[in-house]
C-alpha cells in the first residue's frame, strides 16, 4: 500500500529543446494552486478579516462604525445569547443523532443489500437537492400543520402526550415546537450523513464479513467488531457534515419554530439584517465558529480517526 509504484520519468538526453526538468517544473505546483489560493483569499480570508474588524468596532449606523478594539462585545453577546447557543448545540446534536440512526441502516442497505437497485436508491437520496432548500422546509410546514393528518395520527397514538411531557411539543401542536425544528434539521441534512456513510461502508471488503462469520462471529457481532469500526471514517465525517451546518442553521428554526426555539443562526440573522448591530452579529459568528472548531477537534481526537479519507 505504501510502496511507490510510479517509475521516475525517463530522462531523454537527446531531446533538443528541453530545459532541465527541475527549472521547468519548479513553479508548476504553484501555478496550479493559484486559482484556489485566490478564491480562498477573496471569498474566505478577506471576509474573515473584515468580520473580525467589525466585531471590535463601536458606533452606530448613522455615525458609522470605527475600530475601537472593543472586545467587550464578545462577552456581552455571549451573556445575552447563551441560551440560543445551548439550544443550537442541543438541536444540532439531536438532529445529528437522528440522522445517524436513520442514515446508517439506509447506507448499510444501499451498500450491501441493494444489488441492482443501488444506483436508483442513491439518486433518490440525492433527489431532494433538486428542489430548493426553502421549498422543502416550507413543505414540512404543511406536513406538520395543526390538525393535519400527521399531527392527528400522533395525537391518536398518544405520541404527543409523551413528547409534550418531555417538552418537545406543546398541546396539540407540533409546528412551532422544538420537535418540528429538529425534524426539519434531520430531514434537510440526512443526505450529508448518508453519503459519507455509504462511501465508507461500500469500501469494506465483503470477504471480511465472511471471515468474521468463519471465525465464529454471529451477524450482530460481525457488525459490532468489524463493520462498524471499519465505517468509523464515514460516521465521523457524516456527523461533522450534519452537525456543523445544523448548528449554524436558521431557516428551520425560522420556518418551523417559534420565538422559543430560536437558534444562534436566527440571532445572528436578526442582528445583521433587522437590528443592524453588525459588531454583535460578527462577534456571535466568531464565537460560533470557535465553539465548533473546538468541538470538532475534541471529537476527532476522541474518535481516533484523524484521516477522514
Amino acid at each position: 500500500m505504501t510502496t511507490l509504484t510510479e517509475a521516475p520519468p525517463p530522462l531523454d538526453p537527446t531531446a533538443p529543446d528541453r530545459k532541465p526538468p527541475r527549472a521547468r517544473g519548479r513553479w508548476t505546483p504553484y501555478w496550479l494552486l493559484l486559482p484556489g489560493i485566490l478564491w480562498l483569499l477573496v471569498f474566505f480570508a478577506l471576509p474573515m478579516v473584515y468580520q473580525a474588524s467589525t466585531s471590535v468596532q463601536t458606533g452606530s449606523l448613522e455615525e458609522g462604525y470605527k475600530v475601537t478594539w472593543h472586545f467587550a462585545t464578545y462577552w456581552d453577546a455571549l451573556s445575552a445569547y447563551w441560551p440560543q447557543f445551548v439550544r443550537s448545540v442541543a438541536y444540532a446534536a439531536a438532529a445529528t443523532v437522528l440522522c445517524l440512526l436513520l442514515g446508517y441502516p439506509l447506507a448499510y442497505m444501499i451498500a450491501f443489500r441493494a444489488g441492482r437497485w443501488r444506483n436508483l436508491i442513491m439518486v433518490l437520496v440525492i433527489a431532494p437537492f433538486f428542489t430548493s432548500f426553502l421549498i422543502r422546509t416550507l413543505a414540512w410546514k404543511t406536513i406538520l400543520a395543526d390538525g393535519g393528518p400527521v399531527v392527528g395520527a400522533l395525537n391518536t397514538l398518544h405520541v404527543l402526550d409523551v413528547t409534550g411531557w418531555l417538552g418537545w411539543t406543546s398541546g396539540d401542536r407540533v409546528l412551532a415546537t422544538p420537535l418540528a425544528v429538529v425534524c426539519g434539521l434531520t430531514y434537510n441534512f440526512l443526505p450529508f450523513m448518508v453519503l459519507p456513510l455509504y462511501t465508507s461502508l461500500e469500501r469494506i471488503d465483503a470477504r471480511l464479513h465472511e471471515a468474521a462469520g468463519d471465525l465464529y462471529a454471529r451477524p450482530w457481532t460481525t457488525f459490532r467488531k468489524v463493520t462498524f469500526p471499519l465505517s468509523m471514517p464515514g460516521v465521523v465525517s457524516g456527523t461533522l457534515l450534519t452537525f456543523i451546518p445544523a448548528s449554524g442553521d436558521y431557516v428551520n428554526a425560522d420556518l418551523l419554530g417559534s420565538t422559543d426555539t430560536r437558534m444562534i443562526g436566527n440571532v445572528i440573522q436578526t442582528q445583521f439584517l433587522r437590528v443592524l448591530d453588525y459588531p454583535t452579529a460578527a462577534a456571535l459568528s466568531f464565537i460560533l465558529m470557535a465553539a465548533i472548531l473546538i468541538a470538532v477537534t475534541l471529537y476527532i481526537r476522541k474518535s481516533g480517526t484523524e484521516d477522514l479519507v
Binding site: 465472511e210 468474521a212 471465525l215 465464529y216
Partner: protein, 381 residues
C-alpha cells in the same frame, strides 16, 4: 461450537451440488476427505473447486446433498457454528485490528478470556512473534498469508480450508510457503483442504488430489497415481504434459494390448488402459515426455527389442540446463514432446535430424478416444 475430538473427523460430501439459475457450478459430488490428510482440489478457474470449498465452510448453501464432519451433519449450520476455518484467497485480514487481535479474533468470539499464551504460541508457529502489534498493511504478502493461517489454525478446527492461499505471492515465496504449510500441517495434524489451480502446488503439498473440471471430479488419487495413470485426457494434459497418439486397437490377449498407429505397432499394458479395448476400436495411447528416449536414426539398431518405437524428425529443441526438451514431428503424431536428461549430449540431435523415439511399454497408458484430445491443455498453467 466447541471443537470436539471424536475419532472420526472425516469430511464427507454426499451428492452435493450447486446451481446458480441455469448454471451448474458443481454437479452432484461424493467425496470423502480422510481425517488428518492434506487434500487438494485442483482445477482451472471456474471448475467449481472454490464453490465446493465454500459449501464445506458454510459460506455457500448447497442446492442438493449434505456435508458431514465426522458423525455430524453440518449442512444446515451457519459458518459461525461450524468447526471449520478458512484461509481466504486475499487473506481477508481485519485491517483495523493488529496481528495479535486478528489471530485472537476466533478465540474471543468463543468467549475465551486468556488468549495471550495461545496467540503467542500460534504466532511463534508461523514465525511472526515479533510482529504482534503491527497492522496487517505493514506486513509483506507472505507474512499476511501466515497471519491468515495462524488466525484460522488457532481455533483447532476439524478442517482447515485454504482457498488459493498462495495465489497472490511471487514464485519464490510461493515455493517457500508450500513447504511451510506442509510443515505446519504435519505439526498440527489437522485436515487441510486446499483449493488451487497450480498443479505443481497440488502435487508438492497434497497426499490426495481431486482434479476437477466443469463442476465434476475427473479423477482422485495420490499425486504419483494421477500423474502416472491419468484416466481422462483432461487429467493427462492438465497434470504435466502428455503425448497422446491416436491409435487403433489390434487383436491380442494377455496382459498387453497391441495397437496400431500409422505403420507402428505399440504395446500397452491392459491394466493401464481406461478405454474399452475391443479389436478395431479407437484408443489414445499416452506417454509422458520424460519416459521417452531419443536416438539418432543411424543408431536405430541400438534400441533394445520389446520397446515401443516411433520414428520422426526433430522440429525444435531447447536446452534448459538439467534437460533438453525436444519437439519431434512423427507421421503418427505431430509435435511429440521428449525431455532428455543431460547426461551425454549427442551433437547430431539438432532440428531436422531423423530420430527414433522409444520407451518401455510399461510406461504407456491408454485413454478413451471418444474424448477431446486437447482437453486441459489450455487450462494448464
Amino acid at each position: 461450537m466447541k471443537t470436539t475430538t471424536d475419532s472420526s473427523g472425516d469430511v464427507r460430501l454426499s451428492g452435493i451440488s450447486k446451481t446458480y439459475g441455469s448454471f451448474t457450478a458443481v454437479h452432484p459430488l461424493d467425496l470423502t476427505v480422510p481425517e488428518g490428510s492434506f487434500f487438494a482440489l485442483l482445477g482451472a478457474s471456474g471448475c467449481g473447486k472454490t464453490t465446493t470449498l465454500r459449501m464445506i465452510a458454510g459460506l455457500e448453501e448447497p442446492t442438493t446433498g449434505t456435508v458431514s464432519l465426522g458423525e455430524q451433519d453440518v449442512t444446515a449450520l451457519p459458518p459461525y457454528k461450524r468447526p471449520v476455518n478458512t484461509v481466504f484467497q486475499s487473506y481477508a485480514l481485519f485491517p483495523h485490528l493488529d496481528i495479535f487481535e486478528n489471530v485472537a479474533f476466533g478465540l474471543r468470539r468463543r468467549g475465551i478470556k486468556s488468549v495471550k499464551k495461545q496467540v503467542e504460541e500460534m504466532l511463534e508457529l508461523v514465525q511472526l512473534g515479533e510482529q504482534a502489534r503491527k497492522k496487517p498493511h505493514q506486513l509483506s504478502g507472505g507474512q499476511q498469508q501466515r497471519v491468515a493461517v495462524a488466525r484460522a489454525l488457532i481455533n483447532h478446527p476439524k478442517v482447515l480450508l485454504l482457498d488459493e492461499p498462495l495465489g497472490a505471492l511471487d514464485l519464490k515465496l510461493r515455493r517457500q510457503m508450500q513447504l511451510e504449510l506442509k510443515r505446519i500441517q504435519t505439526e498440527v495434524g489437522i485436515t487441510f483442504v486446499h483449493v488451487t489451480h497450480d498443479q505443481e502446488e497440488a502435487m508438492t503439498m497434497a497426499d490426495t488430489v481431486a482434479v476437477m473440471n466443469a463442476g465434476r471430479v475427473e479423477q482422485l488419487g495420490s499425486p504419483a497415481d494421477l500423474y502416472e495413470n491419468p484416466r481422462t485426457t483432461f487429467v493427462a494434459n492438465f497434470l504435466g504434459t502428455s503425448n497422446l497418439i491416436e491409435a487403433e486397437t489390434g487383436s491380442g490377449g494377455g496382459d498387453e494390448i497391441a495397437v496400431r498407429a500409422g505403420d507402428c505397432t505399440l504395446l500397452l499394458p491392459r491394466a493401464r488402459c481406461s478405454a474399452p479395448a475391443t479389436a478395431g476400436g479407437k484408443v489414445l495411447v499416452g506417454v509422458r515426455p520424460e519416459k521417452i528416449s531419443l536416438v539418432h536414426a543411424d543408431d536405430a539398431g541400438s534400441v533394445p527389442a520389446g520397446r515401443n518405437r516411433i520414428t520422426g524428425t526433430i522440429a525444435d529443441s531447447s536446452f534448459i540446463g538439467v534437460s533438453t526438451q525436444y519437439v519431434v514431428d512423427s507421421p503418427v503424431c505431430p509435435r511429440l514432446e521428449v525431455y532428455a536428461q543431460n547426461i551425454e549430449r549427442d551433437a547430431r540431435l539438432v532440428p531436422g535430424a531423423e530420430v527414433v523415439l522409444h520407451w518401455s511399454p510399461a510406461h504407456t497408458f491408454g485413454l478413451d478416444a471418444a474424448q477431446d484430445i486437447g482437453a486441459g491443455v489450455e487450462e494448464a498453467a
